[in-house]
């Protein structure tokens, strides 16, 4: 119990430091790049004086570290990630606050922008991940139990083929076949749960082969372990050996892969949402980058790296529960 607590405390404080440094790096990168946000906001035809005034008001003339300090302070003290440079708040609910400030009030709050897109991305992620897990577990476990036989070769061949299909290409192919030729499912945008199906399938195609491989190699290496091989001598039935030893041991590599996949899920979502014009966080990210909407990019980068850190801590923690021999 105390060990658990100190593990969490240590890893969380390390994680907080890492996220802070990641934020600093992204903040720096965005500041040293070309482009003047004040000029962009004021509009191309504004005179220099009003651009300068806006720049002063936005704090862009402050020293770099002061800007960063204010930004981090806003996040830590008020949960305020700032306002989008580009997007107006029309159609979005914004928490009160900056009503006195004309330059800021008509721009969308970054956090509520993200919040409005999150549910769709989360839905897509869960649907894709769920589908991938559902398909991969039986195939991978079966292939692992048949290690060295044709079933395993078939599963390796199949997963190699699937993993070699880039998601943006397979998405186009599926749209061509299922939406254009067969007219079974809608492909572009989001107007209801039916619009989730194709993107979720593409996401699953990307993830399933990796889960299949993890299961099959973990299971087959567990069945070769001494404690599994001698288990029948101890009078254990096959069911017991499978569930108590093989499956439990294979759970650790599986959880590690799940952690890796959760973090790489973000990149996949970004591409898939872009392809399907799916209005989630991924598409918002691509748009924010192309429009140089720095506050939005920054917030997304910080939140994602926090997510990375948390996933890694959770993976180590849960692995420890499955295999007590692992040291946190």
């Amino acid at each position: 119990m105390i060990a658990t607590f100190s593990f969490l405390a240590r890893r969380l404080s390390q994680g907080a430091l890492i996220v802070f440094l990641a934020a600093l790096i992204v903040f720096t990168l965005l500041r040293v790049g070309p482009g003047d946000p004040a000029r962009m906001l004021a509009g191309g035809l504004s005179d220099q004086a009003s651009v300068d005034a806006l720049s002063e008001k936005m704090g862009l003339n402050d020293p770099f570290l002061v800007q960063f300090g204010k930004y981090v302070g806003g996040i830590v003290l008020h949960g305020d990630f700032g306002q989008s440079y580009i997007r107006s708040e029309s159609g979005l609910s914004v928490g009160g606050g900056h009503g006195d400030d004309q330059t800021r009030s008509d721009r969308a709050d970054v956090l509520s922008l993200l919040g409005s897109r999150l549910p769709l991305s989360l839905g897509l992620a869960l649907a894709g991940l769920g589908l991938a897990l559902l398909v991969s577990a039986p195939i991978g476990i079966y292939a692992g139990l048949r290690a060295g036989k044709w079933q395993e070769s078939l599963s390796i061949m199949g997963s190699s083929l699937l993993v070699s299909m880039p998601s943006f290409w397979i998405a186009g192919l599926l749209v061509l076949l299922i939406s254009i030729k067969l007219k079974w499912l809608p492909a572009v945008g989001y107007e209801g749960p039916r619009y989730l199906i194709l993107p979720a399938i593409v996401l699953a195609i990307e993830m399933a082969p990796i889960f299949i491989r993890t299961w099959s190699s973990a299971i087959s290496s567990m069945t070769r372990r001494d404690f599994v091989r001698v288990a029948p001598v101890r009078g254990l039935g096959q069911r017991q050996i499978f569930s108590r030893h093989v499956l439990r041991g294979a759970a650790v590599p599986f959880i590690n892969t799940l952690g890796v996949m959760l973090t790489s899920l973000i990149g996949s979502l970004l591409v898939i949402e872009f392809v399907f014009d799916f209005p989630g966080l991924g598409k918002l990210t691509v748009e924010a980058v192309l429009q140089r909407d720095f506050p939005l990019v920054q917030a997304i980068a910080i939140i994602i790296s926090a997510f990375f850190v948390l996933v890694n801590i959770a993976v180590d923690f849960v692995s420890g529960l499955f295999d007590p021999r692992l040291d946190y």
Partner: protein, 309 residues
């Protein structure tokens, strides 16, 4: 499903590679890999694609950016209305799809190989050094690795590429920046395991410098097991490069990279499916060949490691 458990473990375990115990780790992995049909098939496919990409530079006189409006939207050879002069058809501007796809393949090869080689060298140098030296330097380098790894590659890539115009060198730099920490982490573990070994202490006693020990003794032991990771990474880098081009933040048109061609072709999916689909087949075959070789290497490595126990 469970019926195999008792028979599989009791069957005679496959003998570890016979009489190779004296051989170096790298040689043993290579010997086990070379005989795998997966590896041969993958290497053959990879070689064929590489050859096509290379030969196309000299053989095809068709300019991949040459427009030809008379022949626009020519379908590929196996469909109606095809023109043998354009085996894979033409795009919306009448450009030859085969030569475009092959140039795209060249670019993917170039960027993928360069980025993988660079991140392998940088990452393993840092990892070997950190693991071998240990102490404060190790701590510091590994924290740098941690921070770098906590920034999602795609976010890093789009942040940098959103700021500057993408050139091949910049794309390579972004890929290297996103990947080197993996190698640093993997090699550090290998170097850490070797630093306490007797042969290292003996070399120290004989007065060998750290660099000499790392390069001549530790690297040959610690690096070969990572070859499979590099092969898989090559595939990952190639996909990543295509994704960046596809999203519009990597290399830009009119450079015919596979990502650019596929992004372009998506607009014509209904009338001219081949523009988006066929270049993707090249990409898929390339990735498939790498994944097959990587799988063979990984299995050989696991067999050698498990047999060595």
């Amino acid at each position: 499903m469970t019926s195999d458990i008792s028979t599989a473990p009791l069957a005679a375990p496959k003998p570890a590679l016979p009489s190779t115990r004296e051989l170096a780790m790298g040689k043993r992995i290579w010997l086990a890999t070379r005989s795998s049909p997966w590896f041969l098939l993958g290497a053959g496919l990879f070689g064929l694609l590489l050859l096509m990409a290379l030969v196309s530079v000299f053989v095809f006189q068709v300019d991949p950016t040459k427009m030809n409006f008379v022949d626009k939207f020519t379908p590929p050879i196996f469909s109606e209305g095809a023109n043998p002069a354009f085996p894979l058809g033409t795009d919306q501007l009448g450009r030859d799809m085969l030569s475009r796809a092959l140039v795209g393949l060249q670019i993917t090869f170039l960027i993928g190989l360069a980025a993988t080689a660079l991140s392998f060298v940088i990452g393993s140098a840092v990892g070997l050094y950190a693991g071998f030296v240990g102490g404060k330097i190790d701590q510091l380098l590994m924290r740098v690795v941690d921070i770098q790894m906590s920034i999602p590659p795609i976010i890093l890539a789009i942040t940098i590429l959103g700021l500057a115009r993408a050139t091949p060198a910049l794309v390579i730099a972004v890929l290297v920046l996103a990947t080197w920490p993996n190698y640093a982490r993997l090699t550090r573990a290998g170097a850490l395991a070797e630093r306490g070994q007797e042969y290292v202490r003996a070399a120290r006693v004989l007065g060998a410098s750290d660099i000499r020990i790392i390069l001549l003794m530790v690297a040959p032991v610690a690096l070969p097991p990572m070859a499979f990771a590099a092969v898989f990474d090559l595939a990952r880098m190639m996909i990543f490069e295509c994704v960046l081009d596809f999203l519009g933040i990597g290399l830009q048109p009119p450079t015919p990279t596979l990502g650019v061609i596929i992004a372009d072709g998506r607009k014509y999916l209904i009338n001219a499916w081949w523009i988006a689909v066929l270049p993707g087949v090249f990409l898929m075959l390339l990735l498939l060949s790498l994944n097959m070789m990587g799988t063979a290497l990984e299995r050989a490595r696991n067999a050698v490691f498990e047999g060595a126990k």
